[in-house]
């Protein structure tokens, strides 16, 4: 098995911080921690090339270094690429992460690295890579290398990769389906009993959190503002002309309100599988309050109502999707010179 190993100037024995600007160099065979890794991998495994680069150089010339490493790994006919472990060294982690991600996507060979949870490279690359949790202590090198080697062997043999706690990698934040021995009902009672007895238990779902979204500043003069309605309640013209999906919608539509004072039930339908739509179907103003907004427009309470509304269906939608649609809607809102948006949901 041909392996290429990437290390920084410190672990490559070039020097400390004073050598952080040293360029990428190539050495035959294993160097430093690579010797340990080679030993852990057992017979038949050989680090054919060690690539060493100064931390500053790698970060400052990242594109160039990444391209060069990919090229060298390819030429070395490597079957496995290993970087680090980087522990909590930030520049080292960022460079190793970028290099590993590129080698993985461009060469399609197994890639393993190691970092601490706090390493900035972890946040950037945890989703795309298997990063063994190295902790912060370089003294733990041996234990980290055992885990990196074990995971490498599994990847090389196309074996099933277990959970983060079984294999020692940092949670990637991804989900996959798996059939298990015990039913959900049984696991539920097991977990509860452990919890109530104060014994350790592992929740099958980790808590996640949203980035905070801050309230925009108030509209200075609403009586002169152009107001628009955006809804995720799925109100669309009869026939759903944009084919907005009732669940996990990938599309949104813009629908005309020009010259309308009233949304008639028979002209609209609801594409949304997650709430009881009968009240909105009965009277669409319950979701898109055109009637009230026309009155406010007449009274001069708002400057004007924008002559179209935006609609999509907000059900079972992954954030990657809703973020994209949100950005697209913002573009549209800006283009139309809208000052204020009323968002209605269900």
């Amino acid at each position: 098995m041909r392996i290429v190993h990437y290390v920084n100037q410190f672990f490559g024995g070039v020097g400390g911080e004073e050598a952080a600007g040293s360029p990428l160099e190539e050495r035959a065979g294993a160097v430093g921690p690579g010797l340990l890794f080679e030993q852990m991998m057992g017979e038949g495994a050989e680090i054919v090339t060690t690539l060493i680069c100064g931390d500053n150089h790698a970060v400052e010339h990242q594109d160039e270094v990444v391209a060069s490493v990919v090229d060298k790994v390819k030429k070395a006919r490597a079957e496995l690429f290993v970087a680090g472990p980087c522990f909590e060294a930030g520049r080292y982690g960022m460079a190793a992460g970028a290099i590993c991600a590129a080698v993985q996507s461009e060469l399609g060979i197994p890639v393993v690295t190691g970092m601490s949870e706090e390493n900035p490279g972890t946040d950037l690359y945890r989703e795309s890579l298997y990063i063994i949790d190295s902790g912060r202590q370089t003294a733990e090198m041996r234990g980290v290398m055992v885990k990196m080697a074990d995971l490498s062997k599994k990847m090389m043999n196309n074996e099933k990769i277990g959970s983060p706690s079984e294999e020692g990698y940092l949670i990637r934040g991804l989900i996959r389906d798996e059939f298990v021995e015990q039913t959900a009902g049984r696991r539920l009672v097991d977990m509860l009993l452990a919890k109530v007895k104060g014994e350790p238990f592992e929740s099958e779902m980790v808590s996640t959190f949203f980035e905070p979204i801050f309230m925009s500043v108030a509209v200075k003069d609403i009586s002169n503002a152009k107001v628009m309605v955006i809804t995720d309640g799925g109100l669309v013209p009869k026939g759903n002309p944009d084919n907005i999906e009732g669940m996990a919608a990938t599309r949104w539509g813009t629908y005309n309100l020009e010259g309308l004072d009233d949304l008639k039930s028979e002209d609209y339908e609801i594409s949304h599988g997650g709430y009881d739509p009968k009240f909105v179907q009965e009277d669409p103003h319950r979701l898109v309050p055109l009637d009230a907004l026309r009155e406010l427009e007449k009274e001069g309470a708002i400057g004007e109502l924008h002559n179209e509304f935006i609609s999509t269906s907000g059900l079972g939608n992954p954030l990657s999707n809703t973020r994209r649609m949100g950005k697209e809607m913002v573009e549209k809102v800006k283009e139309e010179g809208v000052d204020a948006v009323i968002l209605t949901s269900t």
């Binding site: 934040g173 798996e178 009902g185 539920l188 509860l192 919890k195 808590s207």
Partner: protein, 426 residues
């Protein structure tokens, strides 16, 4: 209150000239059963079939799967509120045809279903092997209602036909010696002699008000949950016909079979009997249609559990789609606030397979979560040798080799707790 299950193993079902249990072989007089079902004049015909465990056969669209059970005279009634007056379920002896199931089909033509085959019973092959239903002997009931009837009336007639068939078949076991008789231990808040064991309650949703139920939909004791507040139930009421699943299911199945063999309740019983815990009872609740509904129900469910059952801990399950997770988590959080430890069961909904999209609630104390999968489990199933269709127009659509997701194969996903498909975070 004490329920006894008299189990009669069934290893084959065949048509015969008289309905009876011959050893472990169930013989069914199709004409007698047909006459019984067609006494309901909302039905114009009914198809009856048998399907063997593990047979190369695909069946659909599935309306419900029910274990054949019939009550011994003098016990509480069969399916109270559906077939009988809504008297308390769970008392006396219930005869069970163990290893058998009645699978009731929806009558949907290709036009009604837009060519979709709905939920299917897959009896063999790569997908079938993961369904607990593929190892049972099935008796298929496909009722055909008069076409001019409104949909809710057709559905009501379908529900009733299934229940009638189940009781009719299981009555064959009446008077026969059962292979095994199980009487559940006495459980409840006042059971004595269990000091030192954690007192555990079950708080389960039985309906989601994301959709208004049909006026004549049967969910609990024949009621459709309109105006329902959380309700204290003895565990045996769940097991013995008080609750049936609603017409609309999303994100995970629920069948009458797994109320009768409720995975959470039977596991709590097992551990109660093993001396691991003291099972103090259950609360049946619903997921609200709006925030006020939600607040009222969650508080009432938590208070009912807290004051009436005095548990140390509670397990919670949800019914329906995504929103019911909120109801479940809010209830769990209220229980945690009252010092009652909780564990909850959720369905994965993250279509992009990233945990940031999996967030359904975030209460630090609701930290024991069982995470059920299904989003990315899809099989390419081979052409089925035999098909039993709710409507002949669907035969080819069912038979053909096709890609079919976990949610469409009955028994793979199950929000009552029978599923073994887990969503794993890595």
């Amino acid at each position: 209150m004490q329920l006894t299950l008299a189990r009669h193993p069934v290893t084959e079902i065949n048509f015969g000239d008289k309905t009876r249990l011959d050893g472990t072989s169930l013989l069914v007089d199709a004409e007698e059963l047909r006459a019984l079902l067609l006494a309901d004049d909302r039905l114009q015909s009914v198809d009856l079939e048998t399907v063997r465990a593990g047979e190369n056969c695909r069946v659909g669209p599935v309306f419900d799967i029910i274990e054949p059970r019939a009550k011994e005279p003098g016990s509480s009634p069969d399916f109270p509120g559906i077939l009988n007056t809504p008297a308390t379920a769970g008392m006396g002896t219930t005869h069970v045809l163990d290893g058998a199931a009645v699978t009731v089909l929806i009558e949907g033509s290709v036009a009604d279903t837009e060519g979709r085959v709905g939920r299917v019973l897959e009896m063999s092959g790569p997908a079938g092997e993961w369904s607990p239903y593929s190892s049972l002997q099935h008796f298929i009931v496909a009722p055909h209602a008069r076409p001019e009837l409104a949909t809710h009336i057709k559905l009501n007639a379908t529900r009733r036909a299934g229940m009638k068939a189940v009781v009719y078949l299981a009555q064959a076991a009446m008077g026969e010696t059962s292979a095994e008789t199980t009487t559940f231990d006495a459980v409840g808040p006042m059971v004595e002699g269990r000091e030192g064991l954690p007192r555990v309650a079950y708080v389960g949703q039985i309906f989601s008000r994301q959709r208004s139920p049909e006026i004549d939909e049967k969910v609990i004791y024949g009621a459709n949950t309109n105006g329902m507040m959380p309700l204290l139930l003895h565990p045996d009421e769940w097991l013995d016909g008080a609750i049936v699943p609603s017409y609309t299911l999303s994100l995970g199945g629920a069948e009458t079979y797994f109320y009768q063999n409720h995975p959470v309740i039977t596991d709590l019983y097992r551990r109660h009997e093993a001396g691991e815990l003291s099972f103090v009872g259950t609360v049946a609740t619903i997921a609200g249609s709006d925030n006020e509904d939600r607040d009222r129900n969650c508080q009432a469910a938590a208070n009912l559990a807290k004051w009436s059952l005095k548990p140390d801990a509670a397990v919670l399950t949800k019914f329906g789609g995504g929103v019911p997770h909120s109801d479940m988590a809010i209830t769990a959080n209220l229980l945690e606030g009252a010092g009652i430890r909780t564990a909850v069961m959720v369905s994965d909904m993250a279509k992009d397979r990233r945990i940031e999209s999996a967030l359904l609630f975030n209460f630090p104390d609701v930290d024991a979560i069982v995470y059920c999968g299904g989003v990315d489990t899809i099989w390419k199933v081979p052409r089925a040798e035999r098909v039993v269709a709710g409507h002949p127009d669907l035969t080819e659509a069912l038979a053909m080799s096709q890609e079919i997701g976990a949610a469409s194969i009955v028994g793979i996903l199950n929000q009552q707790g029978a599923t073994r498909l887990r969503a794993v975070i890595y």
